[in-house]
Symmetry: none
Subunit: 207 residues, 4 copies
DNA sequence: GGATAAGCGAGACGGTACGTCAAGTCTTAGC
DNA sequence: GCTAAGACTTGACGTACCGTCTCGCTTATCC
């Protein structure tokens, strides 16, 4: 269980940090669109090749920086009830909008580059979804959510709203919205279907 | 209401159509990221300057093409009840995922270019929101939705879900989802608040 | 010998003058290299087509302007002796260096465009040479120049010096130089060959 | 006198030669006016940026090619007498008219671009003048030329003639002309002033 | 006086080259 | 074998003019 290191000069941790820092600084100052591998390398005082050796694109750099800095992940401690859990999670999540520039930049890249899209989903987005899914699963186990409710749909609605407002920036996106959303979701999952129409068949499985 | 034409050679409608067509073809074949103004001009058999004269970016071209081709706008005829209206609108809307490449490409551009973001919102996104808002307003007037429900939030949740799935492409996005969503929304707006907790105060105004 | 004019709107003299003026002004202000047909037309308040209808290049415009403005041609009245004639002609000619920008611009164009070179030679340069040739021919007839002197060579040396200094702008170019040159030429054509070497065979025809 | 090389990949001599060659070939085939930086790069199989990195214009490229290829400079060995020196130098110089296209192209550029004009003068024209000046200075030291003769004027007359005929291409320009010119110059500098007129005061200093 | 014809200002058209930027790769010397 | 440096090929960028064309309009001659 050694360090597992071959011959040759070892990777420079200083260079790695310099690159991640330079990327975040440039991003804050000039926005994601103005980021370039060239610029990151220059600002970090690092050879371009060193950047390319470890990351394949500017998005890769930013993603790593984001993950490293957001290691203080939004955890979901069990508070006993769905309402309490949801409220804690959503207010915490919707408080994150300070990362707007980073997140929308990465999303833009993911939309343009399918390869990065996979990395972005797997290394970032899905780990967030997992936390919310855990909350809902717990609530279902407690019987707070009917078994016929499509929990994936609920998750997508929560994150859909978050991303939509992050991207459009046309409406507020803070704790109050999280609280509001909690209420709406609780209503939706607890109420019986209102009408009799065929449009909603809550009792059937939703594939 | 005249033709409103100044002196000089009039704009060539043929060139305009050639550009829009070339852009859509290139987009379908190679994706939005591979689109270039240069390539559009070449494929359209048009001078680069002619493209720049009328559009300021590839996103501008694609947006115009999208709007022109989607002139068959999603209208919202009054079907009498919220459920019927919603079902019609949502199934129609969620059927649109054939435009995935176009829409995600434009969104990527909007995320990178604030100037284009404004155009995209104003000329496309908001006109879609307006249709849904109309349905909800009608329902509120009929008393089908409590007055204290934040209708903008509902709209954002619907489009949030649509966009989130469009972008992540991790879950289905077709008519069934539209129907499912109809059910969920109807429950949410019709049910009384489930608990008594302070987290959701449906009876107060939501700021 | 009538006006020889068919049907149709006659050429606008106003436009012609406006173009020539605009060209000379732009030339004075920004130099020949910065002249463009487009710019000339715009400054003259004239359609581009109107310029192209009557002139085939910016050089053409400038040449016509030059000729029209230099109509007050350097004539060569017979002053009786070669020395007097030469002195008058050369001092007058070398006084012209105010036209430096125009002349060097046209020469540049002539060097780049063989077609214009012909026009420049025939309509401008050769008419200048003719005046000097007349002086030398008169002197030869009077016996002031030995018959074996190549008068074309003399002419080329005079204009060669003029153009060389115009172009390089490394040495003075005014009346004193004209006077100095007169002296040198007089010596060259009046003296017997200094040596006996075969290098100069003044008695043979010079082809 | 070391290699004086910093870090980083060294400049590619192959690319340099390819560019200079491509320029000369294009120039020979299509003339100076048709030369473009773009075309040179393409023909040399080199990126446009590589050309711009080392040269700032097509004229710069051609000038360097000319100087490199004309390294076999016209030297002026001392043959003992002015006549012999002059004859050798002028016949050699006037033999060079094979470079007509190159030289007139560069001169055109110099006339259009003052910045290049400086480079052209300093790196090419003046080095030629220096050779001739050396010859005249030697002759003056030997007493073959009166001290009151303006040697700069003589030099300008020689090169003036050369350039005038190079540019106008209306008269021959080969060894015979060189020989002819030798004779004319010898006469001019050795003869006493022919007349008594005030126009030429050979015994006074010429300002 | 109406038809015909050419010139006019304006400005869009298809092109070509410009000079710049960043991409991603390669080649040094040095640690 | 990693590092900083920096030259390399590639290709799109957005701009400037080129010379041509197509408008509506004006100004002439000719029937």
């Amino acid at each position: 269980m050694t360090d597992q290191r071959g011959p040759g000069r070892p990777r420079s941790e200083a260079a790695r940090q310099a690159v991640l820092n330079a990327a975040m600084l440039d991003l804050d100052e000039h926005g994601y669109a103005a980021l370039t591998m060239q610029g990151i390398a220059a600002r970090a005082g690092v050879g371009k090749q060193t950047v390319y050796r470890w990351w394949s694109s500017k998005a890769d750099v930013v993603l790593e920086a984001l993950i490293e800095r957001a290691e203080k992940i939004v955890v979901a401690p069990d508070a006993g009830t769905l309402e309490a859990d949801l409220d804690a999670f959503l207010t915490a999540t919707f408080r994150e909008h300070g990362l707007r520039r980073v997140l929308t930049g990465l999303m833009a890249q993911a939309l343009l580059d399918p390869e990065f899209a996979v990395a972005f989903r797997d290394r970032f987005l899905f780990s967030r979804r997992a936390a919310l899914r855990q909350i809902l699963d717990r609530a279902a186990a407690r019987g707070e959510i009917p078994g016929d409710v499509d929990r994936e749909l609920l998750i997508d609605m929560v994150y859909g709203l978050l991303w939509y407002r992050l991207m459009l920036d046309h409406a507020p996106l803070g704790e109050p919205v999280g609280r509001q959303l909690t209420g709406l979701l609780l209503r939706a999952v607890s109420a019986p279907p209102p009408g009799t129409g065929a449009a909603s068949k809550p009792s059937g499985p939703m594939s």
